[in-house]
């Protein structure tokens, strides 16, 4: 394949998947610099390994897989520099400083913190990235059935963790009136 073909193919994949990969990074990184780095490094790897990059929807899942590994590892390749990707970091910053849509809910962060990294990632892939168990299986490189079972368990553990961290909310369900008054 000629270099020109490679470029236009890469550009097409980039435009099609960028918002999703950006969302993936922003939802998981605590700073705009980190998120910008994860996005940049993911696509640098995609560019260098384009022969491995599948076409179509599978390409998106492959990129999620790369982003996941980059995220686990990204911090230290000293490519992250305050001055690299200045534009991108600036834009990502806006995503961080827009007041969030959701209200702060008691105990949710703690409950999420009680989950293992893999449980949290499974729930995030399905609820944030909107992937079905088959797609998750591709990203995590496991069988569809394993993904389904692990997802089910992760949901149960999250529910349990929530009960622990927000006892008031759990009681709220059964004793709405009293609970409302005591708040």
């Amino acid at each position: 394949m000629s270099e020109r073909d490679d470029r236009s193919r890469f550009e097409a994949v980039y435009r099609r998947t960028y918002e999703q990969i950006l969302g993936y990074a922003v939802r998981r990184c605590s700073s705009p610099e980190d998120a910008a780095d994860v996005v940049a490094e993911t696509y640098v790897i995609a560019w260098r390994r384009m022969t491995d990059l599948p076409d179509g929807e599978a390409g998106k899942l492959w990129l999620y897989g790369v982003a996941r590994r980059v995220l686990a590892n990204h911090r230290r390749s000293e490519r992250r520099r305050l001055t690299r990707h200045t534009e991108l970091t600036g834009e990502v910053e806006h995503l961080y400083t827009t007041p969030s849509h959701h209200g702060e809910q008691d105990g949710v962060d703690e409950a999420m913190g009680m989950l293992s990294d893999s449980d949290r990632e499974l729930l995030a892939l399905t609820l944030w990235e909107g992937l079905d168990p088959g797609e998750i299986a591709t990203v995590l490189d496991c069988s569809r059935n394993a993904a389904r079972i692990r997802l089910h368990r992760a949901r149960k553990r999250f529910a349990k963790a929530l009960e622990k961290t927000r006892p008031s909310a759990a009681r709220f369900a059964s004793r709405p009136l009293i609970e409302r008054e005591s708040r």
Binding site: Y43, W47, E78, E91, L95, L127
Partner: protein, 390 residues
């Protein structure tokens, strides 16, 4: 409320915030930068640095490769070499070693205050790039203050200001005047940068910007910073072991969990480098206890490849002792890194990264990236907030 929805609501951004992001200036700039990269980092395989040296990792390797190019030889079996610089050879015997400097810094930093309302970091970042015609070098500056609070009733703040762009040296200033003293620069998208800087997508402007404060939301709340790629809570930072041996095992365990990112880096090499960077991170970035920071200095003192380079003035004009090492920034691209330390306080004054580039007229010019630390530590002060807020 359904638990799925509760989890979903925790996302920092929603898909609707992301709509249209694929065609922003930042997305365009990144795409242009990536497709300009060499596809296969083949050069890397040819480097002598790829040679396996049992048990001796990256710093040694990277340093050995780079040193072979730039001059003074380093014995591969010495953990730390004094490495007198040619210009200071007369007083070389009296110069402290890297180990001595780091150990003095360790002793000093142990006396730093151990708590306060805010963990404050104030830095000035400077970076260089050529003008679009590669005739002279420009330097941009930006200040950034970060205020992290342990107490839930205090806000996290980040205050930044662009301090403007100007010619880097008197020689560059002369070339800039000869070019008509422009105050803004427009760069072609496909400009060749040798991967030493990123091409500004919007026109670069000489004028300084406003001081702007941002309140930090979301998972920033409750976070005390990052270690080995993970956000750390205050509790987790407090639990970092202070004793040097335990700290080293703790860091190595965390680093061992990282997966190689398919970037082609040798795993051992990457891990050794990450250990060094985590130690610098503990010293400059995290609200770790004085004991932890002292131990981070002690671990640095035990690493191969760090050399004393004598006294130096940092980008803000402060004197400090310099420690240097080499870093492989991109495959085959080596950068000289200098850490400027004040051994009397144990504070890191600055980190300076230097590469060299050739200008249009053949002049070799240095391109430096630096972070100078004006403050790292606990304070009971409050941030001075500008009227302009985001």
């Amino acid at each position: 409320m359904n638990n799925d929805q509760i989890f979903k609501d925790r996302a920092r951004v929603l898909d609707e915030d992301l709509a249209g992001r694929a065609s922003t200036a930042g997305a365009d700039a990144l795409l242009a930068e990536i497709v300009a990269l060499e596809r296969v980092p083949a050069r890397r395989r040819l480097l002598p640095s790829r040679r396996k040296m049992a048990g001796r990792a990256l710093l040694g390797l990277a340093a050995a490769a780079a040193v072979a190019v730039i001059g003074p030889a380093m014995q591969s079996d010495s953990t730390i070499s004094v490495a007198p610089q040619p210009s200071t050879s007369a007083s070389a015997a009296a110069e402290p070693t890297a180990r001595q400097i780091l150990l003095a810094a360790a002793v000093a930093v142990e006396k730093a205050p151990a708590s306060g309302d805010y963990w404050r970091t104030a830095i000035v970042a400077r970076w260089m790039l050529t003008d679009p015609t590669r005739s002279y070098v420009l330097e941009g500056r930006r200040s950034l203050e970060t205020w992290l609070a342990k107490r839930p009733d205090l806000q996290y703040w980040r205050i930044r200001q662009d301090l403007g762009v100007k010619p880097a040296t008197p020689q560059d200033e002369a070339a800039w005047r000869a070019a008509g003293a422009p105050t803004s620069w427009r760069y072609p998208k496909d400009m060749k940068t040798d991967q030493l800087f990123s091409v500004p997508f919007k026109p670069l402007r000489a004028a300084a910007g406003e001081r702007t404060a941002e309140r930090l939301h979301g998972t920033w709340k409750g976070s005390a910073g990052d270690l080995a790629g993970d956000s750390m809570t205050w509790k987790e930072v407090r639990a970092i072991p202070g004793e040097p041996g335990k700290l080293r095992s703790y860091l190595e365990e965390r680093i061992g969990r990282l997966e190689p990112a398919g970037s082609g880096m040798d795993v051992e090499e990457a891990r050794a480098h990450i250990l060094l960077r985590e130690c610098v991170g503990l010293i400059s970035g995290l609200p770790a206890s004085p004991e932890v920071r002292a131990s981070a200095y002690r671990i640095l003192a035990s690493l191969p490849g760090i050399r004393a380079e004598g006294e130096m003035t940092d980008p803000l004009g402060r004197r400090g002792q310099t420690l240097g090492y080499q870093e492989e920034t991109e495959p085959g691209l080596f950068t000289r890194v200098q850490l400027v330390v004040d051994p009397s306080t144990g504070l890191l004054l600055a980190e300076v990264r230097t590469n060299t580039t050739e200008l249009a007229n053949g002049r070799q010019a240095e391109l430096r990236l630096s972070t100078s630390f004006q403050a790292i530590g606990w304070t009971d002060d409050r941030p001075e907030l500008p009227t302009h807020r985001n």
